[in-house]
Amino acid sequence: MQKWECTVCGWIYDPAKGDPSQGIKPGTAFEDLPDTWVCPECGAPKDMFQPL
């Protein structure tokens, strides 16, 4: 599955891992993250990510 990188801090969203800190289950595609989801490292919203 496609990984996405935060353009502000470089943190990488890996769908295989999800984001436990925001209750995102492993296997969740980036596109399916809720609009309220933000980068756990710096707080950037989804539209500040780009595909890796």
Partner: protein, 388 residues
Amino acid sequence: MRYVVVGGGVAGVTAAQRLRALDPAASVVLVEAEAVPYYLRPGLIDVLAGAKGLGEITPYPREWFAKRGIDYRLGEAAIALDLPRKEVVLSSGKRLPFDRLLLATGAEPVRPSVPGAALPGVFTLRTAADAERIRTWAEGRRRAVVVGGGWLGLEAAYALRGLLERVVVVERGPWPLSRHLDREAGQILADILSEKGVEVLPRTEAAAIRGGAAVSEVLLEGGQILPADLVLFCLGIRPRTALAQDAGIGVNRGVVVNDFLETSVPGVYAAGDAAEWRTQIFGTVLAAREQAEVAAQNLVDPGSARYLGTRPTYKLKVAGIELFVFGASRPAGEFHSEERLQSQSCYAKLMLDKERKLVGAVLLGCPELASRVEELFQSGLPVPRGLV
């Protein structure tokens, strides 16, 4: 219901959003002293380096807040809390009535106390204005000294290295990041930084900053002199507690909160870098956000959510250095066993409890392994034998 949030950093913005979602009918006011809309503070390193403009680290335009029914008071500072009348007093003289209040005033850099620290060319870094000022000052200058070799000091030093010929980091401890790294890792990191043009001088402190119209040199404790036309102090943070303290709210290093993130005054909460929870001030975006979420729930429904701490993870944001620290990296006697791997390209140290669960880990130069370890750290699962 009227909620007022003081401070529009990541804690305040997260809380305001959450309050709006949880209580659609309520009034939510977000008071921010700075004149520019919310920006992502970690992105300031890139602004300092000249790699990004402020707009590129500003996630939401002003209208975004209005659209969500958040009354965003940009450029207005809260100067006092009138707790008996339940009002926040603004710099404009206006008063904002509240039913419940969140203090998300963040922190400011520790101010250097050495002689000469007020000379032009001496800086601290916390705000967009700071980053712009430093970058502007660096133009046409050659040598910088960064005082403090913690996370911020090292990242800022590397950013400055892109602008100046020579950057030296002065660190009181025996090696960089000495609060997080052991000697081996610290030494490897110092070597890599040196290859990248950032020299770390350990076991020394700035005794005085000297110069005429502007800074020209730094005198170290041992008598050594470092020429410098820019000095940046990165000595850690001091929570902004004055508002709370003046109003008689319990303050220690930060604004003291319980597990509901409530201060000593019922109905008044605190979150983020301003808050001190079980003696801890985390100083990270993740902790600020997690606290803001819990605080918002309790503002809406007191006693409904408990904060149980944030598991710290750190990554050094210097291009080409893959350094990760998870949890307590130098726990004193709290762990049961230790597993290490040291090869030419990779240094890894895992600290495990009796059940082989991670207490902490340091990984340098092995991003793949770090990613596996992070997963185990987050999930709390035991570390398989033979992982490192």
